[in-house]
């Protein structure tokens, strides 16, 4: 048996290790060089920054269509009607979560506005039977991640002298894309760690692991 084994060509461990080192190193160094900055928005003349004093992340993500209990259109409310994001997602400035607006807020308008539309009728029915709509979560970070809407809004909106609160949609768009251009909510940014880290590097966010990993 031992003679048989000695005849077999040994696996080239040394060469494999060297190859692995080369591949690994090139990935590491490549990532260091190319992946640390935000991707340039477009070749040529850079447009005026959407959020003054901040680099705007440009990655995009083609999220799937998520069906919701009520066919709510961000385009209609935030786009056409120009309602500020923070009017409904009012928790965003005070808490780590932006929150879904309480039904009471919807009913503030919809007891008089558009009451004949089938989707509003659905909402009214839920409201009258004390039921919350079971929304399907579109933008989500894993459970081991601490992400605070409050801190990001403070930095880019409220503590930013060049920003006005009416431009809140531009700040939200950094991570959520232009929500006022789509109907039912869709995931439009990758929200991966690479996405977060690139933006943190460009905008001098904290880089310590425990600031985001809980």
């Amino acid at each position: 048996m031992s003679t048989e084994r000695s005849k077999r060509k040994p696996f080239p461990w040394v060469q494999a290790a060297v190859a692995a080192v080369v591949v690994g190193a090139s990935i590491v160094l490549g990532a260091q060089i190319f992946e640390r900055q935000l991707h340039p928005e477009s070749a040529g003349v850079a447009p005026a920054p959407r959020v003054p004093g901040a680099e705007f992340p440009t990655d995009t993500f083609a999220g799937k269509d998520v069906e919701q209990p009520i066919n709510y259109s961000h385009k209609l409310h935030a786009g056409d009607l120009g309602i500020n994001c923070l009017y409904c997602h009012t928790y965003a400035r005070r808490s780590k979560v932006a929150g879904i607006p309480p039904t009471a807020k919807c009913m503030g308008c919809h007891t008089v506005v558009g009451t004949d539309k089938p989707e509003i009728e659905k909402l009214t029915q839920m409201w009258q039977s004390n039921q919350s709509p079971a929304w399907n979560k579109v933008n989500d970070v894993p459970d081991f991640v601490h992400f605070s809407h409050e801190r990001h809004l403070q930095k880019f909106l409220f503590d930013n002298p060049e920003m006005d609160i009416k431009n809140a949609p531009d700040v939200c768009a950094m991570c959520h894309g232009d929500m006022n251009q789509v109907g039912v909510a869709k995931k439009m940014k990758p929200l991966t760690m690479g996405f977060c880290v690139r933006c943190h590097e460009s905008n001098q966010g904290p880089s310590d692991c425990t600031r985001c990993h809980k």
Partner: protein, 283 residues
């Protein structure tokens, strides 16, 4: 590319500096603790508070016996008193010695350099942190820890530790660790995070005493003190100074050697950040 090389050079210069000037660290804060062993009654309140705050799983008798319990804060109990001579032959005449033992957040932590994936490292707050989702479960860190305060999840305990509706009690500010992950005391980093958030909103620095760890907050005799060692006005800094214990030394040179402060396994030069005050007995 420049940032990579910059990081390497900065890391190297920090390393050499730390070697040359004992205890040099570039930290923003350095959270540390003081535990008065003469006040500690060994009652376990801190330990149970830790279970409640940090989503610690109970493992049951069998796994506990296999040394797989998850008590980040444990109370050790000894019946001998090596420093005051032999105990009486027939009776335990001076009671027992209790030692609250949790991660000592060593400045020169032996667990950190051995992690193959850098899941454990030192934060700018001076804490020894563990990033659970990065951990691959090699357990090198636990083997290298002289205090045995790192706990490995050999099994998933979710089903048995938090049967419904108990999962509703889980603290959403901390991950629930799953099988194959090392975990340890964080000095209640979620409380630091919350305090930092409040302080930032109010445009000020974190005040001394604003962050209380769960064990400190519940300790019925107030034996535990927690704070920033770099803040010279903090109670913790004052206590370290009063007891003439300095960081970066493996033997203290006290002008008054009778002062009670000491660090456990100081001679290992791991530079722990928990100062214990000696227990006192009438002898």
């Amino acid at each position: 590319m420049s940032s990579l090389l910059g990081n390497i050079f900065k890391g190297w210069s920090d390393y050499t500096k730390g070697n040359e000037e004992g205890g040099h660290h570039d930290y923003e804060h350095m959270y540390a603790m003081v535990i008065d062993l003469d006040m500690c009654t060994g009652c376990n309140a801190c330990s149970t508070a830790c279970y409640a705050e940090n989503n610690l799983a109970t493992v049951g008798e069998e796994y506990f016996g296999a040394r797989q319990a998850m008590h980040w804060m444990r109370i050790e109990r000894y019946f001998d008193e090596p420093n005051v001579g032999e105990a009486e032959a027939d009776t335990q005449s001076r009671g027992a010695s209790f030692l609250p033992m949790m991660c000592q957040h060593c400045n020169a932590a032996p667990c950190e350099p051995v992690c193959p994936v850098a899941a454990t490292y030192h934060t700018p707050d001076g804490l020894n942190a563990q990033i659970y989702n990065r951990c691959i479960g090699s357990r090198y860190c636990a083997n290298n820890c002289p205090f045995r305060v790192r706990y490995f999840n050999f099994y998933d305990h979710q089903e048995t530790a938090w049967p419904a509706p108990m999962e509703q009690q889980l603290n959403p500010d901390i991950s629930v660790r799953s099988k194959g992950v090392m975990e340890k005391c964080t000095f209640c980093i979620q409380r630091t995070r919350a305090a930092r958030n409040t302080a930032k909103n109010e445009g000020r620095a974190i005040r001394d005493g604003e962050i209380q760890t769960a064990c400190q907050q519940t300790c019925p005799t107030s034996a535990i003190l927690f704070g920033d060692l770099l803040d010279e006005t903090s109670a913790v800094h004052q206590a370290w100074k009063r007891h003439q214990v300095q960081l970066g030394k493996y033997a203290q040179n006290k002008t008054n050697p009778e002062l009670r402060g000491y660090r456990i396994f100081e001679e290992l030069n791991v530079d722990t950040k928990v100062l214990y005050l000696e227990r006192v007995r009438e002898v």
